[in-house]
């Protein structure tokens, strides 16, 4: 029996995640992911008018407000087999894409880069050398010696006051930190620039969504944005032009900074391309519908088995039976009453049955979803692989670009197989972000063209039939496949189940006792210092778990030995 590490966050936001690892000879030999996802909302929804569900579900989580709103209206629309006006599709597409870009930039720079970047080392970086290095990688205008000098001074001043502020609780000086002072200075500078840039993505969401941070414009049947090219109060050409300007700024940053940084981090941490693969069955759904029925999409989706791109099975429409019929959830290892085997979400039950943490029994509030009986990894890596497998040209371009740039820095050829890893998930997120930023511009063009044709429709009124209907709405959210499953009776909600991306990835063992993606990915992860398990956090963070959390590290007796804040 090796040393047991428990990493247990304390926040209640979004439910919290606890990771337990057994470490033998410096490597993880067994892992458990235990979560308190917020499931009670499903009970709240029962009995509500189906048209109100989206506004309630967007309160499930502080990070994913928009994604629950969109998925909820899609579920109800699917139950009613509605068609959605093109303008509404494009406006929704713009909102979800801007949200995704925001989410990816913030995740990499502000929530996980500090797993790889040592802020205190940046203080030793030479601004001149940093500028020379940065100039050799990218033409970004923010890579000047003056800029690096300014950031270094600001950082010194900040650290000089004895307060690291946002940077407290990092693993500074950890043996697994390997970047040079110059690369660290470069990364900290981009961290600050990313703070500026992410504002543009937020602004797009708030202008189109009528309000921020919770959008107000969603409706079953479309969106509530009136379109008029000559009115100030609605979606005007002026506002659309402002959005275009912000899209260009986002595009510049994502392509000339984010993609380059991830290639550099990947090159300097090349050993991490061999760590953290875990479940190599990848699931993603198509998104950004281009027609009223949801049968044509800008971004394809599908299922990739065993990491083999040739195995791709596409998911083609909002009515796709292959997706709809393949999802089940098991509660064998979750704190719910079970005994009926894995259930389809329409039949899903959520009856609590708390037992305490049992290594071989129940140990999580997260259910264990499967796709045709097997755990599936979801998220940007799944998205990129499914799109690449279907020959999606922009995906292939940015994916090849990242691998080539990383290869040129590391002075070795980096194969596609390297993406099945902890660092690969970060690289895929950047590739996905670049594809999405192009798509943001594309959806903007489609909207402006369509309005130009004189089409100003944004809403079709839903008609609720008597009796029972059911529907599924899905969305390829920043963290991966999100699906809402709704059963309606006379327009009122009878059953509601949300299968969220973090449920797929943080799944406990399933009906056949097979570990979920987090659990599988942690096996064999090296842990240099069990009291500072940076390596474990790196792999878990690479999935972008949907929670901002402060974590305790407990020793075997359950006494806190270290308290760290992990984001």
């Amino acid at each position: 029996m090796g040393k047991r590490i428990t990493i247990d966050p304390i926040t209640r936001i979004e439910g919290h995640l606890r990771i337990d690892c057994e470490v033998n000879n410096g490597k993880v030999s067994k892992a458990w992911a235990s979560g308190q996802m917020w499931r009670g909302v499903e009970q709240i929804l029962v009995g509500h008018d189906a048209r109100d569900a989206w506004a309630i579900t967007q309160r499930i989580c502080g990070v994913c407000t928009t994604v629950h709103a969109i998925t909820s209206v899609r579920a109800v629309e699917n139950a009613l087999q509605m068609e959605i006006p093109l303008n509404a599709q494009y406006i929704r597409n713009l909102i979800i894409t801007a949200h995704a870009i925001h989410d990816h930039i913030v995740h990499f720079y502000h929530l996980s880069a500090l797993d790889w970047v040592d802020v205190t080392s940046a203080l030793k970086g030479d601004p001149g050398k940093t500028a020379a290095l940065a100039g050799s990688l990218s033409s970004w205008s923010g890579n000047s010696k003056q800029e690096f000098t300014k950031v270094k001074e600001r950082l010194s001043g900040f650290v000089g006051t004895g307060q690291l502020g946002i940077f407290t609780n990092g693993y500074w000086g950890h043996p697994a930190m390997k970047l040079s002072p110059e690369v660290n200075l470069l990364a900290v500078t981009h961290y600050l620039q990313a703070l500026e840039i992410q504002r543009y993505a937020s602004k797009i969401v708030s202008i189109l969504g009528s309000k921020s941070p919770h959008i107000q414009n969603m409706a079953v049947g479309g969106v509530s944005n009136p379109i008029a090219t000559d009115s100030q109060s609605v979606l005007t050409i002026e506002r659309l032009m402002a959005i275009k300007e912000w899209i260009d700024k986002l595009s510049d940053f994502v392509k000339n900074v984010y993609l380059v940084d991830i290639a550099a981090v990947g090159a300097f941490y090349a050993d991490w391309t061999a760590i953290g693969a875990g479940v190599k069955d990848y699931l993603c759904v198509p998104d950004l519908p281009l027609d009223t029925k949801g049968t044509k999409f800008a971004l394809p989706g599908g299922y990739v088995k065993g990491g083999d791109l040739a195995s791709i099975k596409p998911i083609k429409s909002f009515n796709d039976a292959y997706f709809r019929d393949g999802v089940q959830e098991s509660v064998k290892h979750s704190w719910y009453k079970g005994g009926k085997g894995a259930l389809h979400p329409y039949k899903g039950e959520t009856i609590p049955n708390y037992t305490d943490f049992q290594d071989d029994g129940k140990y999580s509030w997260v259910k264990s979803p499967t796709f045709y009986g097997n755990p599936a990894q979801v998220g940007p890596l799944s998205r990129v692989l499914a799109m690449a497998a279907q020959g999606h040209a922009p995906t292939l371009k940015y994916l090849t670009g990242v691998l080539d740039t990383a290869g040129s820095i590391a002075k070795t050829k980096i194969p596609l197989a390297a993406v099945h890893s902890t660092i690969g998930r970060h690289a895929a997120r950047a590739v996905s972000c670049a594809v999405q930023v192009d798509e943001l511009a594309n959806q903007w063009n489609l909207l402006v063209e369509n309005i130009g044709k004189g089409d100003t429709a944004t809403f079709n009124k839903p008609v609720f039939p008597k009796g029972e209907v059911s529907g599924v709405g899905f969305h390829e959210a920043p963290r991966g496949v999100l699906s809402h499953w709704v059963v309606l009776d006379n327009g009122k909600i009878k059953n509601y189940q949300a299968v969220v991306p973090t449920t797929w990835n943080a799944a406990p063992r399933n009906e056949g006792d097979v570990p979920g993606p987090y659990e599988a990915s942690l096996l064999n992860t090296p842990v240099a210092d069990p009291e500072r398990p940076l390596e474990v956090l790196r792999t878990v963070h690479s999935f972008d778990p949907c929670l901002a959390c402060a974590v305790h590290v407990l020793d075997a007796e359950g006494k806190p030995v270290v308290q760290v804040k992990a984001l």
Binding site: I10, T11, R12, I13, E14, W38, G40, V41, Q43, I44, I56, R59, I60, C61, G62, V63, T65, H102, V106, H110, R154, F158, G165, I166, L192, L195, Q198, R199, S202, K203, V205, S212, P213, H214, A548, C549, A550, L567
Partner: protein, 163 residues
């Protein structure tokens, strides 16, 4: 001058949503000048960066664990505010404290912060406040309005005059 009144909390967890409920009431019952921005922050974080940047004062309304009796109202200001974040009295200070720390780092921090908090009675799943906390809402609103008036804001009451 720009003053932000920010209500935070999860409206699906009964009293956890007190900050948001207070914001809704503030919008409904009072006329506020343009320099006051009202934000329903929910449980979000970085999305608020732009709205909270470079303002003269932020009034945060939130559920707070202060160790006092359930449904107590507390007001924290000045030196007490960082302590509020450090000792994790609030369930969602993490997103918000990161945003404030980030603003400090980029030199766009608010001129002042006041936290007006309510000790929750119930955090159960549900969309309404507990009766005890609901009963304290008028008092909470008075405190917020007093705070605004002390900052020099002209606040008009839309409520019907008591007979």
């Amino acid at each position: 001058m720009r003053i932000v009144v920010l209500g935070v909390g999860n409206t699906l967890l009964s009293d956890e949503g007190i900050g948001v409920r207070a914001i809704e009431k503030l919008q409904l019952d009072y006329d506020l000048p343009q320099e006051v921005v009202i934000i329903d922050g929910g449980t979000t974080g970085m999305e608020m960066l732009d709205d909270l940047s470079k303002c003269d004062h932020i009034i945060i309304i939130d559920a707070v664990r202060s160790g006092k009796d359930p449904a107590s109202i507390v007001r924290l200001t000045g030196d007490q505010v960082p302590v509020f974040f450090k000792t994790k009295l609030s369930p969602h200070q993490i997103g918000l404290s990161d945003v404030l720390a980030t603003l400090a780092f980029i030199g766009e921090q608010p001129g002042g912060v006041t936290v007006i908090g309510v000790e929750p009675v119930s955090l159960e799943t549900g969309m309404s406040l507990s009766p005890q906390v609901e009963a304290r809402l008028p008092e909470l609103m008075d405190l917020v309005v007093t705070e605004l008036r002390e900052l020099g804001v002209v606040v008009k009451n839309n409520l019907p005059k008591a007979a």
